[in-house]
């Protein structure tokens, strides 16, 4: 009995070690490919940056006809300048290329019918796209959260921060659900949990805004019916609680 257990144990250990030994070279090759392409990317980005600075690329671009007035492009550039943006695109392009080459090397180091190859490779590529999804979701959440916060503050809403946090968490919950779904983790539990959480956040925000904005909405309706069309209202919410008469709308002219 004991001999049989020993034999089963040694056989399974041997099998795992053999599989691990065949798995490691592929993994190492993948890491080498990623690291090499990252180094190449860093070098290419550095060289490109130097060249663009030398030819005054940013200055020329800002004076060019296409980009001179195109504030949309300028607004959406994430880096400090177009040349930095281009250098970063080159760098991250190389990193992605290295990852693709690494995965392909990893794939090639296994036979087609290998269990690890069948299980791990699709999961690895899904993992990469899930990370990208997570990054994009975070960026969108931060952008929308700031947009809502600034918009709400300029609309003089006292609960601006709560609104902004609500929007941020809505997007983050949506992103998390998408990532988990993409990774095929959780199955129907994720769908249910997402539905409950998302619905809960929306309901909370609706209630908070609805209850908190009663006065604002009624004042806004009153103002709209009284406002002259061609002037900037100084501050439409000049309130009755301050005990002062409404501001004549032409008393403050910003422009």
């Amino acid at each position: 009995m004991w001999e049989q257990i020993q034999s089963a144990l040694s056989q399974s250990t041997h099998r795992v070690l053999v599989q691990l030994a065949s798995f490691l070279p592929g993994l190492l090759a993948m890491l080498v490919a990623v690291l090499m392409l990252t180094a190449v990317g860093a070098l290419a980005a550095w060289l490109l940056r130097r060249i663009l600075v030398a030819v005054r690329f940013d200055e020329r671009l800002s004076r060019s006809r296409v980009f001179a007035g195109n504030s949309d492009i300028q607004n959406w550039s994430l880096s400090h300048s177009p040349s930095v943006l281009l250098a970063r695109v080159v760098f991250w392009g190389c990193v992605v290329l290295g990852t693709v080459i690494g995965i392909s090397t990893f794939d090639a180091s296994f036979s087609n019918n290998s269990e690890i190859s069948k299980l791990l490779l699709p999961y690895l590529s899904r993992g990469v796209s899930a990370i990208l999804l997570l990054l994009a979701g975070n960026l969108v959440a931060r952008f929308l959260s700031r947009s809502v916060l600034i918009g709400a503050v300029n609309a003089h809403l006292q609960y601006a921060r709560m609104l902004s946090e609500g929007v941020k968490w809505l997007v983050l919950v949506l992103t998390a659900a998408m990532v988990l779904d993409h990774l095929q983790i959780g199955g129907i539990v994720v769908d249910l949990a997402f539905g409950i959480l998302f619905g809960g956040i929306v309901l909370t925000l609706s209630l908070a805004i609805g209850l908190g904005s009663r006065d604002l909405v009624s004042r806004s309706i009153e103002k709209t019916s009284e406002r002259a069309p061609d002037t900037v209202a100084a501050h439409p919410q000049q309130s009755e609680e301050s005990g002062k008469p409404p501001i004549p709308i032409d008393l403050l002219r910003h422009f």
């Binding site: 800002s62 004076r63 060019s64 006809r65 296409v66 980009f67 001179a68 007035g69 195109n70 504030s71 300028q74 607004n75 959406w76 550039s77 994430l78 880096s79 400090h80 300048s81 952008f143 700031r146 947009s147 916060l149 600034i150 918009g151 709400a152 503050v153 300029n154 003089h156 809403l157 006292q158 601006a160 921060r161 902004s164 406002r227 069309p229 061609d230 002037t231 900037v232 209202a233 100084a234 501050h235 439409p236 919410q237 000049q238 309130s239 301050s242 002062k244 501001i247 004549p248 032409d250 008393l251 403050l252 002219r253 910003h254 422009f255």
Partner: protein
């Protein structure tokens, strides 16, 4: 005047702005370009112009480019000493746009005019004597390539100009036009051509309503600038009630222009001598209640600290904290703090520290705090013009900070 133009005259004017070409174009010395006006306002403006340039006073031929929206103006016709030239206007805006500058120059070149006057919205309110002195300074003395008006506004008017546009322009370009973004301007032909060349970049990108900055253009070219008293003028007010949108549009354009001309304003230049005849602003009969503006700033202070801390150094944040704790009656934003705030926002705009739309949105409550502080000061008896001149002087003194941080943005900044 023979002039090799940099402006591509083969390119169509925005939205086909110039009407059908005339077989024999009228020639003139001065082209007066009127932005879109309602029919009664246009008639009043033309009547004022006719009285400004009576036929018996030699001023040369005066051409008036008038929008053809009024039924009465359909072809080249005369009105006293004026020759009317119809053109198809683009959309009506608050300020003079790239499309306006381009159309005005193309018409001036077509009709061999020596100078242009661009009169903005509500030009029927302009003093005829002012229009005449604008024309005289361009045609007779030719002392300047850019002639700007100095309006007499109440202290509660033109606040964005007083808070940002005037002091920053004065500090950066060492020029003192009180209204750098005036709605009426006089241009020599070469200045009009230069502005049209800039305007063409925008119109080619489909942005005919972009705002241009003539003072910065004049400073870049090192061409002389003149300021003329225009008296009181009813400035056009925006139809939109969203201050944030308008401030974003104007300040965004201004900051972008500053970024594009960094090599110009970083050069040291002598400050244009002060106009000793500069008048004080008329006092407002009633000043607005600033409580909502202060409240708006306080709401922003509790919510926007995270964003402001990305843009402003700790010293400015501390100043804002003190400001948020001040009672409404003693609410004062000192000039040094406002100067640093504006400079740091210009720097953040350049460095793209955060999205530019967000950045300019975060400036709005700070501007409201300055406006509230200014109005309270005026209410306490401080002459408004004195405060604005002091503020501009502070911007001048602190220009070294902007230049230093522009060149070395990563340097430690307490």
């Amino acid at each position: 005047m023979a002039l090799t133009s940099e402006v591509d005259t083969t390119q169509p004017t925005p939205d086909g702005a110039i009407a059908a070409p005339e077989p024999l174009p009228a020639t003139g010395d001065l082209l007066i370009y009127l932005t879109p006006l309602a029919a009664p306002a246009l008639e009043a403006t033309l009547a004022h112009l006719a009285s400004s340039f009576p036929p018996n006073q030699a001023m040369g031929n005066i051409l008036v480019a008038a929008p053809d929206t009024a039924q009465s103006i359909t072809a080249s016709q005369s009105l006293g000493s004026l020759t009317l030239l119809p053109y198809s206007p683009t959309t009506s805006t608050l300020l003079l746009t790239a499309a306006d500058y381009l159309t005005a120059f193309q018409m001036a070149q077509e009709h061999n005019a020596r100078a242009c006057l661009l009169l903005g919205p509500e030009s029927q309110n302009l003093d005829p004597a002012f229009v005449r002195s604008l024309a005289t300074s361009l045609l007779d003395s030719a002392a300047a390539d850019l002639v700007l008006p100095r309006y007499q506004l109440a202290p509660n008017s033109g606040l964005v100009n007083s808070a940002i546009l005037y002091p920053v322009t004065r500090a950066l370009y060492s020029l003192r036009p009180r209204f750098p973004q005036a709605v009426d301007v006089g241009l020599s032909l070469r200045m009009a051509e230069r502005l049209a060349a800039t305007a063409q970049r925008f119109t080619a990108a489909g942005q005919g309503d972009a705002i241009l900055w003539p003072v910065a253009e004049a400073a870049s070219a090192n061409w002389p600038l003149l300021e003329i008293d225009a008296g009181p003028r009813g400035l056009p007010q925006p139809t939109s009630s969203n201050l944030n949108v308008l401030l974003t549009e104007i300040a965004g354009s201004f900051f972008a222009d500053i970024e594009a001309r960094a090599s110009v304003w970083q050069r040291a230049r002598p400050l244009q001598p002060a106009d000793t005849a500069a008048q004080s602003l008329p006092s407002a009969e009633a000043l607005p209640d600033v409580t909502p503006m202060i409240e708006s700033f306080r709401v922003a202070y509790t919510n926007l600290q995270e964003i402001w801390s990305l843009v402003l150094p700790p010293q400015s944040l501390l100043g804002l904290k003190h400001l948020s704790l001040m009672p409404a009656t003693g609410f004062r934003m000192n000039d040094e703090l406002w100067t640093r705030v504006v400079y740091d926002f210009i720097l953040a705009f350049r460095l793209r520290t955060i999205n530019r739309g967000h950045l300019l949105g975060a400036l709005t409550p700070l501007y409201l705090a300055w406006a509230a502080s200014h109005i309270l000061l005026v209410g306490d008896g401080v002459p408004p013009e004195q405060h604005i001149q002091d503020l501009a002087a502070t911007f001048e003194r602190d220009k070294a900070y902007l230049v230093s941080r522009w060149r070395w943005p990563d340097r430690f900044n307490p």
